[in-house]
Amino acid sequence: MTLFGKKVPILFSLAIWFIVWELIGQAKLSTIIPPISGVLAAGITILPTAKFSAAVSISLRSFIVGMALALAIGIPLGVVMARVASLGKILGMWVNIFISAPISALVPVLMAVIGIGETTVVITVFLFAVFVIILDTEIGIKQADRSLVEMARCFGARPYQVYTKILFLCALPEILAGVRLGAIRGVKGVVIGQLLIAILGVGELFELYSQHFLMEEFWALVIIVFMFAFAVSESVAFLERRVDYYANTR
């Protein structure tokens, strides 16, 4: 962010937003916006509760399992789609439909078919994350330097070595971008899945707070979820920056 032509540090700009929020809250303009000081206080009180840590652990578990599935299926599928033209065409259409489709609308169907439980949330996370991972991996592999592949073959690379030593590394920047976007969508998937189910994890807490109109706790939870998504995305971005030095020079 820049202000009066000067670069403002991110913490400082956050502070400005918090002050604005505090003023609006103190002015009691709307009951759904409590002062930020109250929100922070509520956050500090809910953090150590058993209910909160139970909600976090079940949500984290759904997120991790769903993301692991999305990575384990998405990356290989993207690779295959890039390498086998016919498959890429057939599946590409579906990937493009699903990547823009409102996956949330599918959750009630999943609930009906699979039941109201953790599995449904895991699948929701998976569906939210997998398509962007497939798409980015496919793009990365397709753009991989053909002459490097030729070089490797020329020096006697076996087919699996072409994948592990050339194609995968060439596509790494795109794959990581896909993983980062997938992870952000995955966090959305956990929250939306649990909200719709309403008896699990963070979603249950959200439901509880909003029903009892506990706006301070509600916002505290929003901030915690936001910070989690931010931390996940930043840690993937950190990896991305580490491989950037060669992405720029390709």
Binding site: S147, E150, M151, A152, R153, C154, F155, G156, L169, Y246
Partner: protein, 254 residues
């Protein structure tokens, strides 16, 4: 000459998937331990022929024999130096040069030792841990050459290796290459667009006609290089005659 041909190209033709006929009925022998150049107008199929010899693409007709065996893919006795270098951008010079050995499963210490020696030979010892994007075009090409030398292939295929360097560097490379060949007994096949380069370096020059490429003439320069300095060779009557002969043929293709 063909009695001692390490590579034999027999009636090779190549038609690409799109229907482009790049080569037709190409036959030639490449003498062992000698430097042969492929010369011809742009698009006449020089790269195609080189890749067929390398085993990277299959010919549509005819066959290629290397050391008495029919080619059906790349082999350890052939190494390629690429026009666009084809260096791994994520690996430093040492790893790049050792890459051919890495693919063969040579232990790390051993392959790095070989690579260090080759890097020294192309004069890049102080750049072992640099990355390709930190090097100039000429230096990258040396890395590509060192990589080809590291696998100790008998036959080195080079696709316009000096096309992206300036004239001084180019001449320096030519000397180094000749020097290298003199004491390494390699067979080199070299694609170039430069008549002077072909005449200066080659034991044998293969002139290709425009697409679809066929052999229009094979010239054996027979220039006496023994201990003479480059400028002297470039004033040699034989050398000048060869340059003129090639030019008279290529002129028709413009």
């Amino acid at each position: 000459m063909s009695a001692d041909a390490i590579v034999e190209v027999k009636e090779v033709g190549k038609t690409y998937d799109g229907g482009v006929e790049a080569l037709t009925g190409v036959s030639l022998g490449l003498p062992r331990g000698r430097l042969s150049t492929l010369l011809g107008p742009s698009g006449c199929g020089k790269t195609t022929l080189l890749k067929i010899i390398a085993g990277l693409i299959p010919p549509s007709s005819g066959e290629v024999w290397v050391k008495g065996k029919k080619v059906d893919g790349p082999g350890p006795e052939r190494a390629f130096v690429f026009q666009d270098f084809a260096l791994l951008p994520w690996a430093n010079v040492l790893r790049n040069v050792a890459f051919g050995l890495e693919l063969r499963g040579t232990p790390k210490e051993q392959r790095f030792e070989v690579a260090r020696k080759q890097i020294a030979e192309v004069g890049l010892s102080s750049f072992e841990s640099s990355y390709p994007h930190q090097l100039s075009g000429g230096m990258r090409q040396r890395v590509g050459l060192a990589r080809a030398l590291a696998v100790d292939a008998d036959i080195i295929l080079m696709d316009e290796p000096f096309s992206s360097v300036d004239e001084q560097t180019r001449r320096k490379f030519q000397e180094e290459l000749l020097e290298l060949l003199r004491h390494k007994q390699k067979t080199v096949i070299f694609v170039t667009h430069s008549i002077e380069e072909a005449a200066y370096l080659s034991d044998q020059i293969v002139l290709l006609s425009p697409r679809p490429g066929t052999v229009s003439k094979i010239i054996h320069p027979n220039i006496d290089r023994g201990g003479r300095d480059p400028d002297e060779i470039r004033r040699d009557k034989n050398y000048l005659d060869v340059v003129d002969e090639i030019w008279q043929i290529l002129k028709q293709y413009i």
